[in-house]
């Protein structure tokens, strides 16, 4: 009797282990078709790198097993959660006159399109990120890039957008659209990115 109980307990434990669903990680191509990388570190030790589309790690007992999945299975198992991903942010670029926070006339004309995009999104946010060219010090450019972002913010407010939803940031000369040597004037780098999220 006691022996039968022990066998039953062992069988139950086996069944439980078999029923425990493993963790699953799937790497996907992004909306541009690019595939990134994921390092999967199992709690039992060991690293597994996922680096091509639909690479899948199945983790049970803290150990990862790598396999290749496909779009059909992903849609079947994860279609719901994928459909709930928010829309990717969209960026618009505004350009400035040299050494100033005055927009070029072409850029001023962009505002209505941005307002339309804002109206399309639930709880839309706007982030204005200012950039400069490579003339002048880091400090000068960090300040100028922020001034440019603030100038765009004022324009959006003047057009009736909620000030509380607009954030500003300055990236200085860290992220040129057209890479140049230090000190080179480049109008295409004197810009602000308006991100609608």
């Amino acid at each position: 009797m006691r022996r039968a109980g022990r066998i039953l307990a062992a069988a139950a434990a086996l069944l439980l282990a078999a029923c425990a669903t493993p963790d699953r990680i799937v790497l996907l191509p992004d909306d541009q078709g690019k595939v990134g990388k994921l390092n999967v570190h199992g709690s039992a030790g060991g690293d597994t790198l996922l680096n091509s589309a639909y690479d899948t790690a199945t983790v049970s007992g803290g150990k990862a097993q790598r396999s290749t999945g496909n779009a059909q299975d992903v849609n079947k198992d994860f279609g719901g959660v994928l459909a709930t991903l928010p829309q990717a942010p969209v960026a618009y670029t505004f350009y400035f006159l040299v050494n100033s926070d005055d927009l070029t006339p072409e850029s001023k004309a962009l505002a209505p399109a941005i307002l339309a995009e804002i109206a399309r999104r639930p709880a839309a946010e706007v982030v204005v990120i200012g950039h400069t060219d490579a003339q002048g010090s880091d400090d000068y450019n960090d300040k100028l890039s922020l001034q440019r972002a603030q100038a765009v913010k004022q324009q959006l407010i003047a057009l009736g957008f909620d000030a509380a939803r607009i954030a500003v940031a300055g990236r200085g000369k860290r992220e040129p659209l057209i890479p140049t040597a230090e000190g080179v004037p480049e109008p295409r780098n004197r810009r602000a990115e308006v991100l609608v999220r």
Binding site: A20, D23, G36, V40, G42, S43, P122, R174
Partner: protein
């Protein structure tokens, strides 16, 4: 000399913390809420709504009919499927330098992620944990299912 180095390290750490945004700054915002979704914050549970901010240390829980989509300050996108629980363990982002940290734990359910500027700036600055793994994120779009036992 040693004291001087310690002071420098402390000053640098304070500067980084300051530049990475205030602790009470939102990490993200709910953009999609379907069915039952709640946020556990400071010991209380509140229903999630579209437009509600998400903060570091929040735990987001979806019911059997629930799902949610959130955008983050670094442009990362996250969505949670039904019967899921996600803790936002750590979020810091410096919008000038793009330095930061983004760490979450999926204890049950399904999660979809498109990584943002934090992961792009530094390899493994974004991490997703499950009960049995730690994912170091090097970009960009991926899915996680916490099986549970």
């Amino acid at each position: 000399m040693k004291r001087q180095i310690t002071a420098c390290v402390l000053a640098a750490a304070a500067m980084l913390a300051g530049g990475a945004g205030r602790a009470d700054a939102p990490a993200g915002i709910f953009k999609i809420v379907k069915g039952g979704v709640s946020v556990q914050r400071n010991g209380a549970s509140v229903p999630a709504t579209v437009g509600m901010p998400v903060f570091q240390s929040d735990r987001i829980v979806t019911g059997a009919d629930g799902s949610a989509g959130i955008t983050f300050e670094d442009n990362a996108l996250l969505s949670l499927g039904p019967s899921s629980a996600l803790s936002l363990d750590r979020f810091a982002f410096n919008s000038t330098t793009h330095e930061g940290a983004f760490e979450t734990t999926l204890s049950s359910g399904k999660l979809a992620v498109v990584s943002g500027k934090i992961a792009h700036h530094e390899q493994d600055a974004m991490k997703v944990r499950t009960p049995s793994t730690i994912l170091g994120v090097r970009g960009t779009k991926f899915l996680v299912e916490a099986g549970g036992t």
